[in-house]
């Protein structure tokens, strides 16, 4: 049985679907590999519950930005303005979160992001402007607007300033003490596989913000509304073949408009999450390119929510390792990358790729040698981990991806002829 079924899957270019069984097997293999890696390298922080919890917090803003991209691109609008809409969201959360209430901050983040989306919709849908041009302009405008407004709003507030808000009250979070404590004991034993499982379970029951859970639900909601409702089918048809959709009576312009505004709302929420959960203040430059990384996660996830979540998790994880363990933990990761690349090279050679195989293998060997001849990675270089991961993953996975057929193409009403 396949995980999801839809009309798009019928296209031969699409990647082969994994069944539930295979996903479980691969997850188990991954867990055993990781556990082994942890024991071999001695880098216990590789999958401690602290790391995993931090990964979740780091992955959600990227994932939400990716969801924003998914909504827009499924309706055929490329949204590179996600970064700007996220910036608007951080300010919305900071402003309404501090002056009113953190929950109003969440709404403010969504609303400001949606306004960014609205501008993008007017430019791309109504006026048919090039999507990337409009997105870039929105990024510039948002950055300027937020810097200008922040100086106006927070200067003179206690603990605030030109570039940051005072501390915002935190949203409620909960810990299941009766589960968390015994799991912690188990994790401390550092047993093979068992402790790793305990760490995963503990990360999910300790100090979890309510907003985190709501955001995770949004992934399910997105999948359900885009792939299980007629609204979603129509929306996706606008991204695949707007002319055909219009000929069947779908109001293409309205669907595209709605999708882009929702997209902005998601990006705004992503920014709001950064300000409210990940750090509890608004700061200038808080997004740090996560909107773009979210877009990359969406591409990596083949324009689907599940894959997108996996991509966001990957980037969140590498970012967390960099922040927590620094050079030594990332160093441990090198071995994993080396082994992975060499395995991939063997697979490529068996498939008869006589150029790609050796190249991949050579890179793997070089990284492996780097691991064995060094003890740590310099602090400055660890900063590039999430970005190198993105490039590496895209370079390895890009060919199997298939974007919506009419993605990025301007559409005017009546084009159906």
């Amino acid at each position: 049985m396949s995980v999801v079924t839809d009309a798009v899957a019928a296209v031969p270019a699409a990647a082969k679907k994994l069944s539930y069984g295979w996903i479980m097997i691969w997850l188990a293999v991954g867990l055993v590999l990781f556990s082994a890696l942890r024991i071999v390298t001695g880098a216990d922080d590789l999958d401690s519950s602290g790391t995993l919890r931090a990964t979740l917090v780091a992955a959600i803003p990227i994932g939400l930005a990716g969801l924003g991209g998914l909504w827009a691109e499924r309706a055929g609008i490329v949204n590179i303005g996600l970064e700007g809409m996220m910036i608007l969201g951080t300010f919305g959360a900071g402003f309404f979160g501090y002056f009113v209430d953190p929950w109003v901050g969440v709404l403010g983040a969504i609303a400001l992001g949606a306004i960014g989306g609205l501008i993008h919709a007017v430019a791309t849908v109504t006026f048919g402007v090039d999507h990337i041009v409009s997105g870039v302009a929105i990024n510039i405008i948002s950055l300027g607007a937020v810097q200008y407004l922040a100086a106006l709003a927070f200067t003179g507030e206690p603990g605030g300033g030109q570039t940051q808000s005072p501390t915002i009250k935190s949203l409620p979070s909960f810990t299941l003490g009766f589960l968390s404590d015994p799991l912690s004991d188990l994790e401390q034993k550092h047993w093979f596989v068992v402790s790793d499982l305990a760490a995963i379970a503990r990360a999910l029951v300790t100090n979890l913000s309510v907003l985190t859970i709501l955001c995770l639900l949004l992934f399910v909601l997105t999948w359900w509304s885009l792939w299980r409702t007629s609204f979603g089918l129509r929306l996706r048809s606008c991204g695949e073949s707007p002319a055909a959709a219009e000929s069947l009576g779908v109001n293409v312009i309205r669907y595209k408009f709605t999708a882009v505004v929702i997209s902005g709302g998601f990006a705004g929420l992503a920014g709001g999450f950064l300000a409210l959960v990940a750090s509890s203040t608004f700061r200038d430059g808080q997004t740090g390119g996560r909107g773009y990384i979210g877009l990359a996660a969406m591409i990596f996830g083949n324009w689907r929510p599940g894959g997108l979540l996996a991509g966001a998790g990957l980037f969140g994880y590498t970012d967390t390792l960099r922040l927590r363990g620094g050079g030594e933990t990332i160093h441990g990761l090198l071995l994993l990358v080396a082994v992975g690349l060499i395995l991939m090279a063997i697979w490529q050679l068996r498939k008869g790729r006589r150029v790609a195989g050796p190249v991949t293998g050579a890179i793997g060997v070089v990284i492996g040698l780097w691991y064995f001849f060094s003890d740590s990675i310099p602090e400055d270089l660890t900063g590039m981990t999430p970005y190198v991961t993105t490039l590496l993953v895209l370079a390895l996975a890009s060919q199997r991806l298939r974007m919506p057929a009419a993605d990025g193409k301007p559409y005017r009403k009546g084009s159906a002829g």
Partner: protein
């Protein structure tokens, strides 16, 4: 009949940018009013005549903006979106600063060698994105953004290695460029000591080369053809993959020159204080100038003018100068919208003209719909 048609065409071409500027002016004013700032005061300062020193500053920053925007425009012409100019110019400027600081060659030979290094390094950094695109199908939009972030980390790391240890100062920077290899500026006004970068002529030369190569050579034709229609290009025997890599290399090479006026005319070293963010300004300016060498020059001057004139806002009126970023971003957006609106309007006029010339009822109806 012909004459009036041509006249409307010219009017429409001028109309779009004017429309865009007016719209940007109105939107910025709206933001100022909503925020409760002194609208009249802000525009009074921004639209006043610059000081003598101001003119020099405007020309200098426009020089750098121009190079950056040309680098972006080369990619645009080929339908490639090089967001990575920002990373490319920083890696290149760092490499050039190291080469120039070592001073292996005497005088201006050293300058030339450093610039060559900058072009090569910038091209190589952009080339990574080009290669990933043609061999692995990775969108250059994403890969260049990632390469920007990687460039930041890489330059920070290398700068720490190459920096001269200067006790008593927090600034880390490469070795200073020897006196003989610096490119002196020239005075525009006797009243102020500030000088215009000597390398302003580099920008002019790059602009001219860009115009010549794109419009007057077979290569430029191939490039534009591929940018307009890839299928048509393939049909006429153009190797699109090769063109992608070459135009990425050219764009990166031009990006490599962005930091040169700063390095040889102002900073004389690459340090943590070296101007950043020029690549993003370049994207906006290239869009504003419609990828045309003269249009880009006007756009660069406009951006530099807004930057310079907004600087004193904080002191004079207690208004954050970031307000001009809203203006700049809005101009980019309104310019493209205005061009689209004007194009549609022009198309409709044309249809009407043809219809009335032919006296054809059905065409008239079609034009109205």
């Amino acid at each position: 009949m012909m004459k009036s048609a041509q006249k409307t065409k010219i009017l429409l071409a001028i109309g779009a940018p004017v429309l865009a500027l007016v719209a940007a002016f109105l939107i910025t004013s709206l933001v100022l009013i909503l925020a409760g700032d002194d609208v009249g005061g802000v525009w009074g300062q921004i639209l006043s005549l610059p000081s003598d020193r101001g003119y020099v500053n405007i020309i200098n920053s426009a020089t750098v903006y121009y190079l950056s925007a040309v680098a972006v425009a080369i990619g645009f012409r080929m339908n490639l979106f090089n967001i990575g100019v920002d990373g490319q110019y920083r890696v290149a400027a760092f490499a050039a600063a190291v080469v120039a600081g070592e001073g292996w060659l005497p005088g201006y030979f050293n300058t030339a060698l450093a610039m060559l290094a900058a072009v090569l390094v910038g091209a190589a950094w952009a080339g990574i994105a080009g290669l990933l695109r043609v061999t692995r199908g990775v969108s250059e939009v994403i890969s260049t953004i990632m390469l920007n972030a990687i460039a930041t980390a890489l330059v920070a790391y290398l700068l720490r290695k190459a920096a001269v240890k200067d006790t008593g100062s927090n600034i880390t920077a490469t070795k200073e460029v020897p006196e003989g290899s610096r490119v002196g500026g020239f005075k525009l006004f006797d009243s102020v000591p500030a000088t215009v970068y000597g390398l302003v002529f580099l920008a002019v030369a790059v602009g001219f080369t860009y115009w010549f190569v794109i419009n007057k050579t077979t290569f430029g034709f191939d490039l534009r053809a591929t940018g307009s229609s890839e299928t048509a290009a393939v049909a006429s025997g153009i190797n699109v993959k090769k063109m992608v890599v070459i135009s990425m290399l050219l764009s990166g090479g031009a990006a490599g020159l962005v930091g040169m006026p700063l390095l040889f005319g102002n900073d004389y070293a690459y340090g943590s204080t070296f101007q950043s963010g020029l690549g993003f300004a370049g994207i906006a300016i290239a869009l504003l100038g419609r990828n045309h060498p003269v249009g880009i020059a006007l756009g660069a001057l406009l951006f530099a003018f807004l930057d310079e004139q907004s600087n004193p806002l904080q002191i004079l009126l207690d208004v954050s100068p970031d307000i001009v970023k809203i203006t700049q971003g809005t101009i980019v957006l309104t310019v493209v919208i205005a061009y689209e609106v004007v194009r549609r309007y022009g198309l409709r006029l044309e249809q009407h003209r043809v219809a009335s010339a032919l006296g054809d009822e059905t065409t008239l109806k079609g034009a109205k719909a």
